[in-house]
């Protein structure tokens, strides 16, 4: 059992096996700071019938450099990504912002590369993969408690992800989802924005925290670890007993 009272899952197939093999791109932030999120995502995908590979040479999608205006540097990292994943059939990512980088912004870096276009069509954010490709909404999860959901910006506005995660959460036995009144407002992370304009970033986080606290939820759920890092950091600074959990961690609970 972990601190939240959630029993770590054992893979247990509940869905239909997909012919395509899923290549995991866990993202640098998950690899280095939140590896449990990656493990949880893997468990859920296996439970849903996927066979997984983890290309070991993966690193980053290049987003931090791209968002800071360093296109040449971002291009180097993106090119490496393209090499690592060139033979992958399906690529699944536990992050809306990294998925959007690959599917929307690689095109800005390499406008004439047809491989980039093909890659965009084989890349999904984790919740999207479940609901739109595997067509699974009930992954057999169980977790008692009240949570609220934060719509991470890239997922919401670039990938148009809004209902999918909510539908997935609605099938988690024992779980109640309470909407905060500002679910769609930015958490204030924005990559280097959080350290270039920390006071503004912090102010934005606190506005979200106030809203989260008003729901009475014991956890805020999101599909982006960067948002969760921002919100969790602010929650801990304010000494609030509210957890920040990735959707994969919730869905992995049994």
């Amino acid at each position: 059992m972990d601190a939240f009272g959630c029993r770590k899952l054992q893979p247990d197939r509940i869905g239909v096996s997909m012919p395509a093999q899923v290549a995991l791109f866990v993202t640098c932030i998950v690899d280095q700071l939140f590896p449990d999120v990656g493990m949880a995502m893997a468990s859920v995908l296996e439970r849903a019938g996927c066979s997984l590979i983890f290309p070991p040479d993966q690193t980053c999608c290049g987003q931090p450099a791209f968002n800071s205006g360093y296109r040449e540097e971002a291009g180097k990292v993106a090119r490496h990504f393209l090499n690592v994943f060139k033979d992958a059939e399906h690529i699944v990512i536990p992050s809306g912002s990294c998925t959007a980088m690959v599917s929307h912004h690689f095109h800005d870096l390499f406008p004439d590369d047809p491989e980039v276009h093909r890659l965009a069509h084989r890349t999904w954010e984790f919740s999207q993969y479940l609901t739109e490709v595997l067509k699974v909404e009930d992954v057999g999860a169980k977790m008692d408690g009240v949570v609220t959901y934060h719509d991470s910006c890239h997922a919401l506005r670039e990938l148009k992800i809004k209902d999918g995660p909510r539908r997935l959460l609605s099938h988690v036995r024992g779980l109640e989802l309470r909407e905060m009144d500002v679910a769609e407002e930015c958490c204030g992370f924005g990559g280097t924005f959080s350290i270039k304009f920390p006071e503004i970033s912090g102010g934005m986080a606190r506005t979200k925290i106030d809203s989260i606290l008003r729901t009475g939820a014991s956890a805020v759920v999101s599909i982006d670890s960067s948002c969760l890092m921002q919100l969790d950091g602010a929650l801990r600074r304010g000494k609030h007993p509210v957890r920040a959990m990735h959707l994969a961690e919730v869905l992995a609970c049994q």
């Binding site: 866990v26 640098c28 998950v30 690899d31 280095q32 700071l33 939140f34 590896p35 449990d36 990656g38 493990m39 983890f54 070991p56 040479d57 993966q58 690193t59 980053c60 931090p64 450099a65 791209f66 800071s68 205006g69 360093y70 540097e73 971002a74 180097k76 990292v77 090119r79 490496h80 912004h105 800005d108 910006c153 890239h154 506005r157 407002e185 930015c186 204030g188 992370f189 924005g190 990559g191 924005f193 959080s194 350290i195 270039k196 304009f197 920390p198 006071e199 503004i200 970033s201 912090g202 102010g203 934005m204 986080a205 506005t207 890092m229 969790d232 950091g233 602010a234 801990r236 600074r237």
Partner: protein, 467 residues
Amino acid sequence: MPMTSAGMQKTLANPELQLAVYTATGRLMDKRKAAVDSELLPEYQELRTHANALKQHTVDNLDWYLEEFERNVEAHGGKVIWCETGAEVANFVLELAKKRDLKLIVKSKSMTTEEIDFNEHVEQHGLEAVETDLGEYILQLAAQKPYHIVAPALHMTRYEVADVFTAKLGVERETVPEKQTMIARRVLREKFLAADIGITGANFLIADSGAIVLVENEGNARLSSSAPKIHIAVAGIEKLIPRAQDLGVFLRLLGRSATGQHLTSYTSFLAGPRRAGEADGPEEFYVVLLDNGRTKLLDKPERRQSLFCIRCGACLNHCPVYRKIGGHNYPWIYSGPIGAIITPQFHGTAKDPWLPFASSLCGACGEVCPVKIDIPKLLLDLRSDVVESRGNTVERLAFRMWAAVMANPALYRTAGDFASMTGTSERKWKDSSSMLAVGPVKAWLSQRDLPGPAPKTFRQLWKERAK
């Protein structure tokens, strides 16, 4: 490293101001949402696409439409005055006033005239230019600049308004907004009736009609363009749309996006001075077409969309950064996301290089823009411009090194393993007293806690799992 200005910090630390701005913009957001609701306006997305296409076409053929507009203004008895700079606009008005011995100007809300500091220019030469929009009038008395494109005095409380009126008008202190409004109405009514010249902006310039369109709620634009003998409309060259019939698209978007109104109280379509047989209206009608740098934004085709803006203010209302720092912490008269993309294009990226970075790239602005300006994309493009213009900085070096590590799996693994060695089996969330609090880490820790590296990376865990 932090780029937050002292002004921004002051605004962030002012709870009353924070509440005023957050509440006001929140209300405008809600009103807009109700007005573009998919049941009430199912064609909303289609209208946006159409408006974008109309603006794209017009801007791509701007010279044609400018000339068509001028021909039609003249056909209806008006005159077009072309001005490259704000000084030329002021000079035109000053010369006109001097020739005819005119003294008093009434002005209705025009961001374009704010852009060129019109009032200051003409007042230096002895003319009186009175703002007649209630919010702008209050600001003129308080010697402040507009806080928001549509709601200029969004940041002021009724008590601050009372202070301004007492100090500048010598009236008894009055804090009730309805009564404050009536005070302004009384004072300004006299000005309208005595004014020699009425100066307005223009929300749209209609090429096929030689007409301007004024969108308002108070009636001051109608009065400024109807009561005095001379009406001068000042507009940027990008305000053109091809046909009067295109108003069906634009008017259905503007009010809803700005304030949630289906149509504002008054929409005036004005083509030239009064005609034979008409009982009132101006005897002279001028449209000043202003460049002031707009032609620069035409150079790059992918950036022309910056000129599509119909000044609805929706992007400001939805911007979490604007809602925290307010309109006075932007370097130019245009604030919020639209200000962030046009300011560097007008003034060059060297002047306020921080501006394109003062955004979390949340994308809310692009989502609500009625003419579908891709503001987030332009912010990213401008960031790239800033970086390229600066050559090799410490930050560039850092990103070069970062990219070298990220493009090399062996280096990345070594760096990751090293970092995770500093973690412990129990995750430590460092607060600001930690010794590692330098530079970016310090900036992060000033606002929130930070997780240390995980004891094992995902890659290590995955390897173990396979065993």
